[in-house]
């Protein structure tokens, strides 16, 4: 059996990673997991998160987060047109093309 959709949204507040968490995360990440994989990944991810529990448990009040190793600001380019790619090259990469556009199967569900 392939699990596609888990109970949406709701996380348990406990720290231990549950099977339902993995189902939820796989849905967000657009991955299908077999029952066996679900079992395996839940155990493996839980052990990594266990290991990371030391970090989660630290009291770091007042420590600012580092998003980036560089203390650089204002990197910009001029508003000047540069050559685009040739359409033939662009479309040749695509798995499916129609009318010079990328073709995808029907979209179920609305735009976010």
């Amino acid at each position: 059996m392939t699990v596609e959709n888990g109970p949406a949204g709701a996380h348990p507040s406990t720290a231990a990673l549950s099977r339902a968490d993995v189902v939820h995360v796989a849905r967000l990440a657009r991955l299908d997991l077999s029952e066996d994989e679900l079992e395996l990944f839940t155990g493996q991810l839980a052990s990594v998160l266990d290991y990371a529990a030391d970090v989660a448990a630290l009291d770091l009040t007042g420590v600012r987060p580092t998003a980036h190793p560089l203390p650089v600001v204002n990197v910009l380019r001029d508003d000047v047109v540069a050559p685009s790619l040739e359409r033939d090259i662009v479309l040749a990469m695509a798995p499916s093309v129609e009318d010079d556009r990328f073709s995808v199967p029907r979209i179920v569900g609305e735009e976010p």
Binding site: L58, T66, I107
Partner: protein, 486 residues
């Protein structure tokens, strides 16, 4: 080793000067290396693709330039092994993933253009852990690379193909990418020099992203000087990468001959804790060698490093989960058909990604998801701050830090395949430099009890590449025994 093999063992600097002077043709240099590849590649699988025809054309063009008296660049005719996560115009770039099979980028990575401008000859695209996620080069859609010193062992990873290629004499130079140690650890396992530059010193444009705030491209070589030369060629500002530092490439060779007299070297306890006794012994011998050469070696403790691995295994997967969302079957690469778009995305990603990539995508998605961001991702970012500040304190008293590159020598293929956490632990010593964005280098320094190479790691502050290479060169000189040629 054959005559061709000996020729293949020359340094990049030697080859480039011989080719530029017209003493030797780029074509002959290339043929010598292709011959080595032909004999050993079947056992090692260092390459995803060997670019014989393209390389021959390129070598011939360089030879024509030499004949015409045109300038040919500092790497004239030097074969380079390129990790397969660096985009090459019109040439397959797979990241060792099924999901990118058959994809030919419509552009060159900035480093690839710089190699071409320097006269280098790209000899092949090397095998890697899928999307650079791994420490053994076993997570590849085309199968594992083997360590040239012992084919039952891994070459390390994720840049194991480039490390193995340089170690085996397939090319004097290689490029890899290092997100948490992916250049230094395989360099240590394969007995070559491997270096991660300061974050922003080398453009990431055209490097297929794993974890953008940690990724950095860097050199593999058989000598410290060659690694420094390669860094000078690929480094320097690139307007196409917003995180590329202003200014020219680090003057990596500027202090090579200076020695270490009077330098303050911090032997870092946290970069030895958990290391195998033989590895730790080599690191202590390296420290002793630096002391003999005039450095002042002191032990230093940086407890914040102990949190580095946890922080890294939250931050890197988080960024990866976002970076790898684009492999959705719409614009390029694999598509597995399904009745609707979302199902097509799922089918494609499920079939296209290997287990380790899926694990990290899920781990990262979890660390970023509603309700967990602060506890995991936010907390890991704060730990990153602690690591940066701890480095700053250490560098107030020390010019460089010294430690092991990896806790052990190369391990057996398959031995850690089922235990992701054990695999992650092999990055313990390399991760702090990535978190801080600092440069670090692994230099071969003797062998372990198993006869396999041991790497010693030197760490330096941001943009201190000249110093880092000076210390590495001093270690190279002091290496306890002749380099083992696999």
């Amino acid at each position: 080793m054959s005559a061709d093999g000996r020729s293949a063992r020359r340094t990049a600097a030697d080859i480039a000067s011989a080719v530029a002077a017209g003493e030797e043709s780029a074509a002959a240099v290339l043929d010598a290396h292709l011959a080595v590849i032909e004999s050993r590649e079947p056992d090692l699988h260092a390459f995803v693709s060997v670019l014989g025809d393209e390389a021959r054309e390129r070598a011939a063009a360089i030879d024509r330039s030499v004949a015409a008296g045109e300038p040919v660049g500092p790497l004239a005719g030097v074969p380079v092994a390129l990790k397969d996560n660096l985009c090459t115009l019109g040439l397959a770039t797979t990241c060792s993933s099924k999901i990118l099979e058959g994809w030919r980028p419509p552009y060159d990575a900035t480093v690839v253009r710089r190699l071409a401008d320097a006269g280098a000859v790209i000899i092949g695209k090397t095998n890697m852990d899928e999307f650079a996620m791994g420490s053994s080069t076993e997570n590849s859609s085309s199968g594992p690379t083997r360590n040239p010193h012992d084919t039952a062992k891994v070459p390390g990873g994720s840049s194991g193909g480039s490390a193995a290629a340089v170690a085996a004499g397939f090319a004097p130079l290689g490029l890899g990418s290092d997100t948490g140690g992916s250049i230094r650890q395989p360099a240590a396992f394969c007995g070559v020099v491997g270096m991660k530059p300061t974050y922003g010193a080398v453009s990431r444009y055209g490097l297929v992203a794993f974890a953008s705030s940690l990724d950095q491209i860097g050199p593999f070589a058989t000598t410290v000087a060659d690694a420094a030369l390669l860094l000078e060629v690929i480094g320097g500002h690139d307007p196409a990468d917003s995180t590329s530092l202003d200014g020219p490439a680090p003057a990596a060779r500027s202090r090579l001959g200076e020695g270490v007299d009077g330098l303050r070297v911090g032997l870092c306890a946290q970069l030895l804790t958990g290391a195998a006794p033989d590895v730790a012994a080599r690191v202590h011998e390296a420290a002793e060698a630096l002391a003999v050469a005039g450095a002042r070696v002191e032990e230093v403790s940086i407890p914040e490093f102990d949190y580095g691995l946890s922080a890294y295994y939250l931050l890197a997967p988080a960024e990866a989960s976002s970076n790898l969302a684009r492999y959705d079957g719409v614009r390029y690469g694999l598509r597995v058909d399904a009745p609707d778009a979302a199902a097509m995305n799922r089918a494609t990603r499920t079939a296209g990604f290997g287990a380790e990539v899926k694990r990290r995508i899920m781990l990262g998605t979890y660390a970023l998801s509603a309700g967990y961001y602060d506890a995991y991702y936010g907390q890991a970012q704060r730990v990153r701050t602690l690591v940066v500040e701890a480095f700053a304190r250490a560098y107030a008293d020390h010019d460089v830090l010294l430690g092991a590159t990896a806790p052990t020598t190369a391990f057996a293929i398959g031995s850690k395949a089922d235990d992701p956490l054990a695999m992650y632990l092999s990055d313990l010593f390399t991760i702090p430099s990535n978190l801080a964005g600092h440069p670090a280098i692994s230099v071969p320094f003797g062998t372990g009890d198993d006869g396999l190479p041991v790497g010693v790691q030197v760490l330096a502050p941001a943009l201190a590449e000249p110093l880092l290479f000076a210390v590495a060169a001093a270690l190279e000189v002091a290496t306890p025994q002749e380099e083992t040629v696999p």
